[in-house]
């Protein structure tokens, strides 16, 4: 019989940043600059963790001297509020300068270069930057600013007291330690939610953005009482087949059909906004669709490869190299990846959430790309620091109960010898999501699927099994996915219309009356309940 025990360790600070990506690190740096005692907890290691771990090559911003007019595009379509959008454009250039001063090369050959990823008829608004080592530089800057970084920590729940945040509870994923964070403010910056829907066959971890982003922030916030927004409006991407990887905008070729006929004009951004193209061609037998680089010049090809390196696409370039194949001469297939969840914690322009002391930033809701993470990370840090400065540490009674309960649960999972692995549970939730709440939704399917999901969810605590704290981290991720899945079902049931990828066959039309509303789901006594809100 196993008998793993977790030792309790307490960590005190003013501000805790959960997640050490661009948002979390920028939050930590700013909060620390503002005088707060800051700790960052990352599931991995901030040097290379998350979507930005191996780089990003485009930073959305407005630099008047270079671009002239401010691009209007994103202020019109963003699901964020007008105030958030405005705040973004006002602050982005400042972040460019700060990053540059921290050693992140924001200029290319001595000047700001805007190129790629832009929309037809709009000024270029993506600054091309050599971002392969962004996370290394941000980590260095955070340490220099006095931030304490604790890597390999899985935070699993927020500690709160009557609507006020008091910290968080987590564990070390390499050692048997339960970590109790007592802080005055908490910033959620855990990124996207990727492993809810199946992405690709063959592997749970073959995802286009980081597979360890499992909506942990969303799930914790929901359990603590925050509402989640737009959870039913799932989205899809496309990219190389079968090596799931984002960065479509960096492949400078055109799409061609099997007969070498170009699809589209090659100039528009349909590759971004019509990711189903590839699936539709495949399912209708007209496919595959190829990314064809044969018509670009040698100079363009060399440039493309340079930027692909900074856009974290070296593994695909290396694949072709090992294969002895030049992608310029060998068109390769694209595919449509699975659904994911952009909806989440709809933070305001100060990064506030409905809970006092709780802030969110970056991809906790939608995305302004890495630039949005930088801007709102910094703002979250500022908000959290100023909240912490005027707040006393909360009392401990509630914490003790939670710690005891959490410790007991985690140790049960660790010491179980017969049961379900996290992979089994993760596959089960993906199966339910794809089969009942996927690309085709209807009242009858949603009802049946939600019942099945809840039946499985109820069993999880009785069967989940982990051999060590690493697997325990994966188990907690899956528990979060079950919460988010349940919320997605409830929201999909409530939205009785079709919109974007939310396709209700029983309500096939888009209802224009809902254009100005958004759907949120709240935790009411453990049950997810939908509510409509006017858009801000």
């Amino acid at each position: 019989m196993k008998d793993i025990k977790l030792n309790i360790e307490q960590i005190e600070a003013d501000v805790l940043c959960i997640g050490g990506g661009p948002a979390g690190l920028c939050a930590a740096i700013r909060a620390s600059e503002k005088g707060a005692n800051v700790v960052v907890a990352d599931k991995s290691n901030t040097l290379r963790s998350g979507d930005a771990g191996m780089g990003n090559d485009h930073f959305m911003c407005h630099i008047p001297d270079v671009q002239g007019e401010r691009p209007g595009f994103f202020s019109k379509i963003g699901k964020m509020s007008q105030a958030v959008t405005e705040t973004f454009w006002e602050n982005a250039y400042d972040l460019v300068k700060r990053w540059d001063s921290w050693g992140i090369p924001m200029k290319y050959e001595g000047k700001y270069e805007f190129a790629g990823h832009s929309m037809p008829g709009q000024p270029d608004f993506f600054l091309h930057f050599s971002g392969q080592n962004t996370k290394v530089k941000l980590t260095k800057q955070a340490k220099k600013t006095g931030v304490r970084i604790i890597n390999r920590v899985m935070i699993l729940d927020l500690i709160h007291d009557n609507g006020t945040i008091a910290g968080a509870i987590g564990f070390d994923v390499r050692e048997s330690k339960l970590l109790v964070f007592k802080t005055k403010a908490v910033i959620l910056a855990t990124g996207k939610c990727m492993r809810l829907f199946p992405q690709n066959t063959g592997s749970l971890f073959n995802t286009s953005t980081s597979p360890i982003n499992t909506g942990d922030g969303r799930a914790m916030a929901y359990r603590a009482g925050c509402e989640l927004s737009d959870m039913e409006l799932n989205d899809r991407w496309s990219g190389p087949k079968y090596f799931a990887r984002n960065g479509r905008g960096s492949w400078m070729g055109v799409f061609k059909d099997p007969n070498g006929i170009q699809i589209g004009s090659g100039k528009e951004m349909t590759g971004h906004f019509y990711p189903q193209l590839h699936e539709n061609y495949q399912k209708s037998g007209r496919g595959p669709v190829y990314m064809d680089l044969s018509d670009i010049s040698d100079k363009e090809y060399e440039d493309m490869k340079y930027w692909l390196v900074h856009e974290a696409n070296t593994p695909i370039l290396d694949f072709f190299k090992e294969e002895g194949v030049d992608p310029k001469e060998h068109p390769f297939e694209f595919m449509t990846y699975g659904l994911f969840t952009p909806g989440g914690i709809n933070y305001n322009e100060k990064c506030e959430t409905p809970l006092a002391g709780l802030y969110a930033a970056g991809d906790e809701f939608m995305s302004f790309y890495i630039a949005g993470a930088a801007v709102f990370g910094s703002i979250a840090g500022e908000s959290a620091a100023s909240f912490a400065a005027k707040t006393k540490t909360s009392d401990e009674k509630h914490t003790q109960t939670l710690v005891v309960k959490t410790k007991e649960f985690l140790e049960t999972v660790l010491n179980r010898t017969d049961g379900a692995t996290w992979q089994e549970a993760n596959s089960a939730i993906q199966q339910v999501m794809a089969d009942y709440c996927g690309l085709v939704r209807s009242e009858t399917m949603l009802t049946a699927g939600l019942e099945h999901l809840r039946r499985l969810k109820k069993k999880l605590p009785q069967v989940l099994m982990a051999q060590n704290t690493h697997e325990l981290m994966r188990c907690v991720e899956v528990l979060n996915l079950f919460d988010i899945g349940e919320i997605t079902f409830v929201a999909a049931q409530e939205r009785k219309e079709s919109r974007q990828h939310h396709h209700r066959v029983d309500f096939p039309f888009t209802n224009p009356m809902l254009n100005e509303q958004r759907l949120v789901v709240k935790n009411k006594k453990g049950q997810p309940v939908p509510e409509w809100r006017m858009k801000a």
């Binding site: 991995s44 290379r48 994923v173 971890f205 980081s210 595959p288 060998h330 297939e333």
Partner: protein
């Protein structure tokens, strides 16, 4: 197996173990050649390949992930 370590080149510095985002090297011991405990959790991000000072790591792309291309 995702990451493959060349045991001749590896100097057991532990950088890959420290930085791997998905912790495939969980259970590796300090000053020993790292072990790939959870190969199916490799995201094939190339972080360990890139940061290895000995150039001792390369990724074997699984058969399920090989990009389909025209010959």
């Amino acid at each position: 197996m995702a990451a493959v370590i060349d045991k001749e080149k590896c100097n057991a510095c532990g950088i890959c173990v420290r930085i791997c985002p998905t912790d495939v090297y969980y259970g590796s011991k300090a000053k020993e050649i790292p072990v790939v405990t959870y190969p199916e959790e490799c995201w094939h991000c190339n972080a360990c390949v890139h940061d290895c000072p000995q150039n001792a790591i390369h990724l074997r792309i699984p058969l399920t992930m090989q990009v389909a291309y025209k010959s």
